[in-house]
Symmetry: C2
Subunit: 319 residues, 2 copies
């Protein structure tokens, strides 16, 4: 156990923030402000499945936390702290140092200190488990089930770059160093719009983070809310690096590409000015891309109003 403790102490221990008892006891302890609920989420990242073995460990440390912070953003919660589980086939000190730097840089910037964890040797391959905690005013969290017909559908950031980066790194697109340089950051260093998301509480209805592709993720809002939706394809914010690519590829990347870690949310029409002001203050790009409708199902239409078929399915971990 000393080795285990030393790993945590050496690479991951930071001074505990006020009100937190951190790494080193059986549990970490933290407080919650009166009138708030705790929002929590956990994600597993598996080597060879969610990241390449040769990925920059600093980017991996960043992303392991970012994908979880993205879940807090989806509910409008303010981060309180996180736990890290690391299963490693061996101890590589340079790797751990860089991983910890990437993790802590985002943790510090997001007000989400690492307060505990577990390290263990794995049989084969790295597995990373991150759990985040945040707080949100009781009863005010943005739920997937809260969309209403007539709501605008909004998307933050841009779409498609992470998917193109993944295709380039997997070799399913021909090698293109120039393009890879432009899209790689979207895949490896996502930046969930945390403070913008907290400002959305009370303004927006439903929200979620785009992790498995806009079409599929928006489908969850529709299923949970019992609504349909119209999405205007030409209004979807796409990454500028995609403009020279084949239009079919772009459509798949924009509608079905995962790993975005930006928000899709809905809000009534009379909230447009408030949301635009919030986006300006938070330096976030927020774009209206469609509307929630009565009924069911998602229709995507082009600039001429012609329906685009949705044969491009999202990603199923076990299909």
């Amino acid at each position: 156990l000393n080795g285990e403790f030393d790993l945590i102490a050496r690479y991951f221990a930071r001074p505990a923030p006020a009100g937190v008892t951190g790494v080193g006891d059986d549990c970490a302890l933290f407080g919650v402000e009166p009138g708030n609920q705790v929002a929590t989420s956990t994600d597993l990242l598996v080597e060879g499945r969610h990241f390449f073995s040769d990925v920059d460990p600093r980017a991996l440390g960043h992303k392991a936390l970012a994908v979880n912070l993205s879940d807090l953003a989806a509910m409008g919660a303010r981060p309180l702290g996180c736990l890290l589980g690391l299963s490693l086939p061996s101890v590589n000190h340079g790797w751990l140092q860089s991983f910890a730097e990437g993790f802590h840089a985002l943790a510090a910037r997001s007000g989400c200190p690492l307060i505990g964890g577990d390290t263990t040797r794995s049989a084969s391959g790295i597995v990373i488990s991150v759990t985040v905690f945040g707080q949100v005013e009781a009863g005010k969290a943005m739920l997937r089930s809260a969309a209403l017909p007539g709501d605008d559908i909004w998307v933050t950031g841009t779409l498609g770059a992470a998917d193109v980066a993944l295709r380039l790194l997997q070799g399913s697109l021909p090698e293109d160093e120039h393009l890879l340089r432009k899209v790689r950051g979207a895949l490896e260093m996502p930046e969930p719009p945390l403070s913008f998301a907290q400002g959305l509480v009370g303004l927006a209805h439903a929200a979620l983070d785009i992790s498995d592709g806009l079409a599929q993720d928006l489908g969850h809002i529709l299923d949970e809310s019992g609504c349909g939706a119209l999405l205007r394809y030409d209004e979807l914010p796409r990454d500028p690096a995609l403009q020279c690519l084949d239009p079919d590829l772009v459509r798949q990347a924009v509608l079905a590409g995962g790993d975005v870690y930006q928000l899709c949310f809905t809000a009534t029409v009379d909230r447009r000015a408030a949301i635009e002001a919030l986006a300006r203050d938070a330096r976030v790009c927020a774009t209206r891309v469609g509307e929630i409708q009565a009924g069911s199902g998602l229709r995507v239409v082009d600039a001429q109003g012609v329906r685009i078929p949705l044969e491009v399915a999202g990603y199923d971990h076990f299909s």
Copy 2:
């Protein structure tokens, strides 16, 4: 993602308890009573490292949660809920069914509902990540650093059986079906003394759960509290199944055997009667086994007061 959702819904979804928004949104939400802190802990269980590939999946589901509940017990926290991350090389429905049954049976009995999680396909081998949260009155959690000279040292349950079971299953002890039947439950179905532990808050000083061997774990209390301790070997509660085994083996199993998931705690002498009454009410066996002393280091003595050398080290995950 549908496959992912189906796995969770099919095997793990249960009706959410009051005040909890459970499986299906980006985060789970739960409330904390005023004046309480959240206690949280996470553990990774890796196939081939923490459990055998052919372990009964029902027992594994139980143990994955039990080792985390044990951390809540160590702080005196009352369980509120848990998250489960499962990384599986393939989907085995019978296995998942049994795993979920074992997990949920303990969750229901402990008041610790599963409120969220993540399932993913692994490159190789099963990895289980469980995060638990509980609540404890602010400032009242039992910490490793709270032992004081003069405190009694107490242990709940009995020691040694899990270690002997592990040795039998690993083949480092000769095959003995009769013995294995008697000790296997201690290894595979540990039962942390949760309600007893909550009653200890305000009675005990320091506490932790015995996961890596009594000598090593007690050493953490001594290090954190800046104390020494005397442990009376003959007073340690050992599992009755150990009585016919070689005394050297028994000593290693009792002092250095891990996977116990019972408590070691300290309390002043004037708390003896209250602790004994609490143990009776909770149907827990609690035994005084030594005392905290000024100075540093752990001394273990036999019935004649002769020192027993501590060359039997605990388990180091990365040694």
